[in-house]
């Protein structure tokens, strides 16, 4: 392990890591471009590098890419990556209320703390955690995602009915494509472009970025809505009080990241709604409440450390980005898996060391650059939106090199605009879209496994635990109201 850190101290490895992190932040911040795109683009470059440098470059891009998303999520309500959808809930209202730098500062601090805590799990107890995560089969995946879906109802700001409608609509849009449980086309209307369904990226940037651009185009220029960023980033000693929230967010993030295929966006969602449920003032969430940003950002960064655990111990990639990372290793004749620690310890420990250093570099880069980045809100909106539109179109096209994805993006821009017009929240819409395919596939896989016997869930303790948590999530507000009423009644009786 020490050797791995020493290897990182070599200037070229450190340079690659810094370049990777920096590029990742920029790409992560731009709506339409994502970390996995950046990694795919730089993959051919790594063929000719030595394996340690290749790994440091790619890990830097991965960490930077997830972290950079918070910038545009907070400033423009355009999540640069799917991982930062939840950050928009409180980050953007904070920016609108004139606390843009404060939201950015909190987001960055929470990201770094999340990264470092999950690094602790990665470095300290990888094998045990990986074995634990492997026990999770289709039943556990299904109930976990179900729990996250139920939490959506709690998250919905304002009308719960509208939130649920948005989630249901998002789920409906996830239906077309190849039904993976029977391998047949579903709701494609005979179009081969529809065979792959609606892509996540076109839907995400359509609903958030394109609809925002359209709305801006329709409204007269407002300027001076946000104050000029101050020269200092506001962090106070009292922020130490966020320690329990940071710890909770990081543990939730690491733990959800552990499960391959369940990503940073679910981690952020679960952490956010847990915080909201535990909070004494849940009504403040969604209006620019600081703990909302802390919960979302600590969890989405921590999920990377979690996802690296099955990758390096078992060779199981947790996300598309990690699958590409494996590709980069196989080019160098290295296969991630249990043998990696024996065959190429410098790579296995190199990944672990690079992850920690990338988080530190991310802090330095973002902290240094953030007050300049924050000025983008001062730029003329018309010019800024035009540039973002170019990136959105390019990014949508580049995912599958397919122009139909661009039409999908524009279509969802209109859908997003319509939803906002009816005051239906976009967050639940996109998250419903992301979660329902996983829930469907896992439920049907469970039923295939058990030959259609739903009762088998009774033999799976973790699945039952998630179901119970989901149930509590639904009924807790009513219980809390009851308890509150009883307490008040008692108080009313006592003074006599």
């Amino acid at each position: 392990m020490l050797d791995a850190f020493l290897a990182l101290a070599e200037w070229q490895n450190l340079l690659f890591l810094a370049v990777g992190t920096g590029l990742g932040i920029v790409v992560g911040a731009i709506p339409g471009l994502t970390a996995s795109m950046l990694i795919a683009l730089t993959l051919p470059l790594t063929f000719h590098m030595d394996p340690v440098s290749a790994v440091t470059l790619l890990i830097g891009e991965y960490v930077g890419g997830i972290s950079g998303g918070l910038i545009t999520a907070i400033l423009l309500r355009m999540p640069g990556t799917p991982a930062s959808i939840v950050t928009t809930f409180d980050g953007y209202p904070m920016a609108q209320n004139g606390f843009a730098e404060r939201a950015l500062a909190l987001g960055i601090m929470a990201s770094v703390v999340g990264g470092i805590i999950s690094w602790g799990f990665l470095a300290g107890m990888s094998p045990a955690l990986a074995r634990f995560a492997l026990q999770f089969g289709p039943w556990e995946y299904f109930t976990l995602v179900l729990m996250a879906l139920v939490m959506l109802a709690v998250l919905s700001q304002g009308s719960m009915v509208k939130g649920l409608m948005a989630a249901a609509l998002g789920m409906a849009f996830a239906l077309p494509g190849i039904d993976s449980s029977i391998g047949q086309a579903r709701l494609t209307f005979g179009s081969s472009a529809m065979l792959s369904g609606f892509g996540l990226l076109p839907v995400l940037i359509g609903a958030f970025a394109i609809s925002q651009i359209l709305r801006d185009a329709a409204t007269p220029q407002e300027s001076g809505r946000m104050d000029m960023p101050k020269s200092k980033l506001p962090i106070y000693r009292s922020d130490l009080g966020y320690a329990p929230k940071l710890l909770r967010g990081s543990v939730i993030g690491t733990w959800i990241g552990l499960l391959p295929g369940i990503g940073a966006n679910i981690a952020a969602l679960v952490s956010y709604s847990t915080e909201k449920q535990l909070s004494k003032e849940p009504e403040k969430f969604g209006t620019g409440h600081e703990p909302g940003v802390v919960a979302a950002e600590s969890a989405n960064n921590a999920s990377i450390g979690g996802a690296l655990i099955p990758l390096i111990t078992m060779g199981i990639p947790g996300s598309v980005t990690e699958a590409i990372l494996i590709g980069a290793l196989t080019i160098h004749n290295l296969q991630p898996g249990p043998l990696l620690f024996q065959n190429a310890p410098e790579i296995a420990y190199g990944i672990i060391a690079a992850y920690l250093v990338a988080n530190v570099l991310m802090l330095m880069l973002m902290w240094g650059a953030v007050r300049y980045i924050a000025r983008i809100v001062q730029l003329p909106r018309s010019g800024l939106m035009a540039v973002i539109l170019v990136f959105c179109v390019t990014g949508s096209y580049a995912v599958n090199s397919s122009f139909s994805d661009v039409w999908v993006m524009i279509g969802f821009g209109l859908v997003g605009l319509g939803l906002e017009y009816c005051r239906v929240p976009l967050g639940p819409f996109v998250i419903g879209f992301v979660l329902s395919p996983i829930a469907e596939e896992q439920l049907r896989a469970s039923l295939m496994m058990s030959d259609g016997n739903l009762a088998e869930i009774l033999t799976r303790p973790y699945a039952l635990l998630f179901l119970a948590l989901a149930l509590i999530t639904v009924i807790w507000p009513y219980i809390a109201a009851r308890l509150g009423a009883r307490a008040r009644a008692k108080q009313a009786e006592e003074p006599s």
């Binding site: 494509g177 529809m194 060779g315 699958a323 590409i324 590709g327 296969q335 249990p338 090199s401 596939e441």
Partner: protein, 323 residues
């Protein structure tokens, strides 16, 4: 970055210029020809980093390094829709050999399942540059040590074991071919990637799964291979019998298949084929293949197409039994 294809091509060129000594251009170089007249686009119907992608990039680099074609090859990933995205992209591109596809027999499965609106008649086969075969694997602590034990158990207790497959993908079809041949039945659980199959078998949530031989060997522990679907035993795992040896007429060699649009001129296909053949015989490529349980060989376009037609018939028969 406005045009990914160009960007990748420029990146590729830059890398080649930086990293490779500018050697003398081989005698067989196609300098005098008017084909290729511009960089070639190789469409890979999968995400970057998988085997098909890696092999396309390696062979593309080799062709460029040795000057086997006068223009570089740029790999473009068009994932999704059971290959339909890649085929659509091919149709929009040139049909004179500047746009080609690197795929494998997943294409035939999509055709057999009737997914997408493409068939063998849409393509001209350039050839196979080698390929690899998969293994059927159980968990290390499984009670079954041989395929015979497993089949006997399944015949006695039909549907008592769970097989992790992606419905309509190679693991599904290869498993079904063996099941039809040997007369047994398993229960399926959906697992759409190698990572999912690995996770399910290692965690005890599935009993059986199919892996590329290289995936199995890299795992090293936790898994036990029962049968190899290649035509001959693999030197890296001398103790794993082939299905044919055990008396089941099932084999699956998944080739790296290079395809061009059906209307590509034959002369251009021949030009591409000779470059690919030279690349696959290059010692460095041969070594990479051997290290990764792939067999390096060259099958010319016509022979490859004949093999694919035969395979497609077999797959259609299997598809009829599972739908």
């Amino acid at each position: 970055m406005l045009n990914t294809r160009k960007f990748i091509a420029i990146l590729g060129l830059g890398v080649a210029a930086l990293a490779l000594p500018v050697g003398p251009i081989g005698a067989g170089a196609a300098q005098a020809q008017d084909f290729p007249a511009k960089p070639l686009e190789v469409i890979v119907p999968f995400k970057p980093g998988g085997r098909t992608d890696v092999v396309a990039r390696l062979i593309g680099d080799k062709i460029q390094e040795k000057g086997l074609l006068s223009q570089p090859m740029a790999v473009v990933n068009a994932d999704g829709g059971a290959g339909a995205n890649a085929v659509n992209r091919m149709r929009r591109g040139d049909d004179d050999g500047h746009t080609i596809v690197h795929w494998h027999h997943q294409a035939l499965i999509a055709m057999a399942m009737g997914l997408g609106d493409f068939g063998l008649e849409d393509f001209k086969s350039i050839g196979y540059t080698g390929g690899g075969s998969p293994v059927w694997v159980v968990s290390e602590d499984s009670e079954f040590d041989t395929l015979e034990d497993l089949i006997a158990h399944l015949k006695e207790n039909p549907r008592s074991l769970i097989e992790a497959v992606g419905i309509g993908t190679i693991p599904h079809f290869v498993g079904a071919m063996l099941a039809n041949e040997a007369g047994f039945e398993t229960r399926y659980v959906t697992a759409n990637s190698g990572a999912d199959r690995l996770r399910l078998v290692l965690g005890g949530n599935a009993d059986i799964a199919l892996f590329a031989a290289s995936e199995y060997l890299a795992q090293g522990e936790g898994l036990k291979a029962l049968v190899y679907f290649g035509r001959e035993r693999l030197p890296d795992m001398p103790d794993v019998p082939t299905a044919t040896e055990l008396g089941y007429d099932v084999s699956w060699a998944n080739p790296n298949w290079w395809l061009a649009p059906a209307s590509t001129p034959d002369a251009h296909v021949a030009e591409l084929a000779s470059a690919l053949e030279a690349a696959i015989n290059d010692p460095e490529i041969v070594e990479y293949f051997r290290n990764n349980t792939l067999e390096p060989y060259w099958t010319p376009g016509d022979a490859a197409m004949a093999d694919a037609e035969k395979q497609l018939e077999a797959l259609k028969a299997v598809a009829a039994t599972i739908n």
